[in-house]
């Protein structure tokens, strides 16, 4: 279940439409390494949410499932919840726990 385990409560991201028809998914760090890619293009579906996008990525790449409990999400570069609606043309990022600095 893509429920965004790590939290980071944020106001819902503003919907944006940038002209593309699908949904772009960005992967980073351990997730990108396990997936062997940093970017996926999915077809947009009616009623799409951040969680449904995440679930479809896992469906396509079952190896990523073990990362799900620790993920947070971003929608168009703002932290987002799994329930947030995803507009057509949006970018969803699956974000492993961050570890900036040293």
């Amino acid at each position: 279940m893509c429920i965004g385990g790590a939290g980071l409560a944020q106001p819902a991201a503003k919907p944006g439409y940038n002209g593309r028809v699908g949904v772009t998914v960005l992967l980073f760090a351990s997730l990108a390494q396990a997936a062997g890619t940093r970017r996926l293009e999915l077809e947009w579906r009616d009623g799409e949410t951040v969680g449904s996008v995440c679930a479809r990525v896992i469906e396509r790449m079952p190896a990523l499932e073990r990362f799900v409990p620790n993920l947070v999400f971003a929608l168009n570069e703002e932290y987002a919840d799994a329930a947030d609606p995803v507009p057509r043309g949006a970018t969803v990022a699956l974000i492993p726990p961050v570890s900036g600095g040293s």
Partner: protein
């Protein structure tokens, strides 16, 4: 406000100059530096990766929040990406304020928030392998990689 994500060496002098102000009686500078050990293991070098466009956005938001919350004059937040050797600076934060107290409290808050919220990741590389180290150190939430847990 100066925010930057770059693969170039971070220069504290540039950050200090960026926050200098005639109204500031204090400038505080924090350097996050690559150390040669983590979780009991020797580190060869680190590789940092960022979601650059979002990282810049989050840095700017945190900088604005820090300035408003602590009454700071100005802030600079710079994060390095790519390969970093031991002793190199990965995070550079400079803060100017009217008096020293808020430069320390504001600086402490800002460093912790940057580590929690800015989408940057690091991979530890040692002699016989590598591992993504995920989770903010500042919260004590950093996890030992699976290869260590199973030992």
């Amino acid at each position: 406000m100066l925010v930057r994500v770059t693969s170039e060496v971070l220069d504290p002098g540039e950050a200090i100059a960026a926050v200098a102000s005639p109204r500031a009686g204090a400038i505080n500078v924090f350097l996050g530096v690559v150390r040669d050990n983590n979780l009991g293991r020797n580190v060869g070098h680190l590789e940092y990766e960022a979601y650059e466009s979002m990282a810049l956005k989050v840095m700017r938001e945190l900088g604005e929040e820090a300035m408003a919350r602590f009454g700071l004059e100005n802030v600079a937040i710079l994060h390095r990406t790519g390969r970093l050797e031991i002793g190199e600076t990965s995070l550079l934060i400079a803060i100017s304020s009217g008096h020293r107290a808020e430069s320390f409290t504001g600086g402490h808050w800002l460093v912790d928030e940057v580590k929690k919220r800015v989408p940057v990741w690091k991979k530890e590389v040692w002699d016989d392998g590598e591992e993504w180290i995920e989770g903010p150190e500042s919260l004590g939430m950093q996890k030992a990689p699976p290869s260590m847990v199973s030992r």
